[in-house]
Amino acid sequence: MSEKKPALWLRIYTFLVYAYIYIPILILIIFSFNKQKLNIRWEGFTLQWYEKLFNDHQVLLATRNTLLIAVISTLVATVIGTMAALALQRYHFPGYGASETLMYIPIVIPEVVMGISLLAFFSLIKFQLGLATITLSHIAFNIPFVALVVRARLHGFDKSIEEASMDLGANELTTFWRVTLPTIMPGVLSGAMLALTLSLDDYVITYFTAGPGSTTLPLRIFSMVRFTVTPEVNALSALWVAVVFVILFISEYAQRRRA
């Protein structure tokens, strides 16, 4: 795009939109240090809510669950999704069209419908609701997103390096492992990051498939917002933002170092 300086109004406008995006988060963070319990007026600086947070057994359990589910579902979905992307991008086989459509359905289906259908399904086969059901559900919606991202990255992929590798005597598996995979790795990692985010943030589908002792952070935060309404929620939010910021910062930094 042109390098001409954009108009002043456009710059101001964009700044305002960023403000709209960030001000709520800033307020949230500031008030996590507020002495007053009801989150209405500022009464003084304190770290008590953070302390309360670390002693909150339910929150710690929820954090553990959320991470466990996210990591497992991301790993599985990334493997399966990458395979699907390779299949769709490079091969022709009977049922190609149907497979492609099938794969994209979880993206367009409303979350609430997916959630209730999984609830009905697990209920029918009498599979107890809990961590397992949540993870299985997360994998289901993650696969298409991973596949989508990897497919896009596969677009400009030059097959000749694979052919070269085979000419040099490597078999298919070695070629895949040593040549193809490293080349598409950035795409695969992007897909994995996306899957991780979607899993960490998921509320609706988790809400329908959760069971005893399998509460996740989004569910817990929702409960806290509904009834506790102490700055403990703000503290949790602030921490979450901080952690995310650090992770993204590290990954951006790592990318930059690579380049």
């Binding site: 795009m1 042109s2 954009p6 456009l10 710059r11 406008y13 964009t14 939109v17 709209y20 995006i21 960030y22 709520p24 307020i27 949230l28 008030f31 209405i40 399966i80 999704g81 395979m83 699907a84 299949a87 091969y91 022709h92 086989f93 009977p94 049922g95 190609y96 497979s99 099938l102 994209y104 359905i105 367009v108 409303p110 609430v112 419908v113 209730i116 259908s117 999984l118 009905a120 559900s137 289901a140 696969i143 989508l148 991202v149 497919r151 896009a152 078999n171 985010t197 943030d201 509320y203 609706v204 329908f208 935060i221 929702f222 917002v225 929620v233 939010s237 933002v241 995310v244 993204l248």
Partner: protein
Amino acid sequence: MNTARVPDKTTRRFSLTKTLRESPVAQGLFLMGPTNTYLIVFMVIPLILVTVLSFMSRGTYGEVVYKFNIESYIRLFDPLYAKILGYSLLVGFLTTVLSLVIGYPMAYYIARAPARQRSLLLFLILLPFWTNFIIRIYAWIMILRSSGFLNSFLQWIGVIHEPLNILYTPTAVLIGMVYEFLPFMVLPLYTSLEKIENAQLEAAADLGAPPWKAFLRVTLPLSVPGMIAGTILVFIPAMGMFVVPDLMGGAKTMLIGNVIRNQFLTARDWPFGAAASMLLMLLTMVFTLYYTRKAGFGEELLI
């Protein structure tokens, strides 16, 4: 392919791997297999189940009675549900339009920014998206409450004297929805806009077009794929949302998502909830088919 009919174990096993190696079709199927299997089990079957459920009846205390019955669908024809559906469509539509209007200039700005600034700007849009969705809604509740920041601020600078009643109204719901969906609109728009070649704009200028005309005739039409992708990413989820109306609308506004949720987890009328889900899915599919026929699906969605 193996022609010798030798019933020898080692030979047969060898031919399977050989088939996999030599036949691209086999490779394709092998790679696609897990996805298909997984999704058939955890998506197709549940959805079929929902379809079947929608034709069942409800027992006295909310159990599902396996008796065929189209009563749920008949109930859906009640004008009340047409209203709820209409309202949901309206919310989806407004959210989409507002996101588009607010997001377009922003995407434009980022697309035209110097290359090194661009990734930072995009990162800044993505960052809140990475924080938890409920947290962000809670932040808005804090701001929009009667005793919240917006009101305190406006009263402090003297613009108003009585707090504005924003929270728990449809306005609050819209503010929340747009806030949630803005990144989904901005990113595809940006992708589309970024691809527009300088050369085309220069050509337009050379042919004597003023900047606004160049925008209307060149930039805007070329960014349509982005707009379509953004619309799909915003409209469909927005239609089925129930969390934002619940939290910011005071559980007063009933959208189709709320109806479905309630049927499963409060009113316990699964057949009716299933029927409502079918309706929502139908709408979604119609919408998606219509739009993707116009402009395809894939790459605009990604960065």
